[in-house]
Symmetry: C2
Subunit: 263 residues, 2 copies
Amino acid sequence: MISGATRLFAILGDPIAQVRTPELFNALMAARGADAVMVPMHVPAGALGAAVTALRAMPNLGGFVATVPHKVAMLDQCDAASPAARAAGAANAFRRTDDGRIEGEILDGIGFVEGLRRGGVDPKDRDIYLAGAGGAAKAIAFALAEAGARRLRISNRTAERVVEIADRLARAGMSLPVEVAGSDPSGCDLVVNATSLGMTPDDALPLDVTRLTADQIVAEVIMKPAMTPLLREAEARGCRICPGAPMLDCQIELMAAFMGAPR
Amino acid sequence: MISGATRLFAILGDPIAQVRTPELFNALMAARGADAVMVPMHVPAGALGAAVTALRAMPNLGGFVATVPHKVAMLDQCDAASPAARAAGAANAFRRTDDGRIEGEILDGIGFVEGLRRGGVDPKDRDIYLAGAGGAAKAIAFALAEAGARRLRISNRTAERVVEIADRLARAGMSLPVEVAGSDPSGCDLVVNATSLGMTPDDALPLDVTRLTADQIVAEVIMKPAMTPLLREAEARGCRICPGAPMLDCQIELMAAFMGAPR
């Protein structure tokens, strides 16, 4: 039940109709009996600055989430950002301090790692193959490094982007080796798809699935469909699989905590 | 259940915790099975322009309501205003057009008149005594004139504000006589309090209740308390009374209709 005293949270994106975050966040608040609500705000790229200016001046705003296409641009809009957000070059969760500052964090990577852990998979000391070097991959690479991964092998059409991730991790004080990989995930303990390949039926596979072996764990960032062609191929080869949906579920709690939502 | 596709509505005010509009609006939407939600936005006076700039650029925003202290300032912020809003010098309901224009309306007066009508009181051809010449009184005077009132007698500490209302009504094409009144409501069919006197226990009465007679109808804009000292005195003198709360209830439907909320 929303009243004048309800604490306000928002998610900013363009498009916005497809986002699942308000449902998950509001269900979490309802389960806690908390007087807080998250609403969708359709904010085109050109209006992001105006939206943040308005939200910064709104004392009943707890915080907000940013999704496509705002994650990178929000790094310049916020007044402070976490080391993970700076390393990823993007941020997706924001809290408003009492004096009207906006502080940013990236939870894509931490949420992914937390989802793995809840599934019983700890990235610590693992040799990890990561497909992709985009926004999600950057955040996941940072979170895997922070979680104690032993080595990262990253594949991407443009190798320069892999080198860029290696540089960012090194600058953030991470000492693990980060290597440019091809399509072959052989020899890695954990294989992660952080590309968008698999969202639509005609997509190519993100890596060479014929090289997967039953001792490997294969994890996915794609939430819809739950069973991507990659996961299906991995399962057929006897691999343990980790679907993408738990990543968002875990992120909701992390988002709520970061934004200072009622407990 | 709020999703990414839920149509967004807001109420802007400072303070905001006390507003009842979100509860009433959301109950109306729930009763209609409509996918729309109104949330409170705490907007200090200095941040009003930034808030409107942001809301103007938000395609999933249906509209918003403005309350204290924004009703007068919003007239300059919106791209178009109704004759009633221009006459009242204030606006409290706003809709966003598909091309990002903000159109304003004042519903305080229309809501009040609609509340009277639902209570079985038609202001048409009535001789009306109106206590007060502030924002609410201006809107009510315009709505009463539009509803066909025969004559308005308006009392106010500063008589110039009554003359100003008379001028505004004349400029808006209303031909009824508008006169400066003292504290004596004798001879009027309908007696309306549009001052804030009666909200707190120590307030003076807004008019000379000793002159009230049983053939008069006494109406109140104050919603809390439901029974003001004026209404109690009027009831004791045999007058028919009209409490203020139905005004807000009626306004909710008018607001929803003006803002283009789902039916």
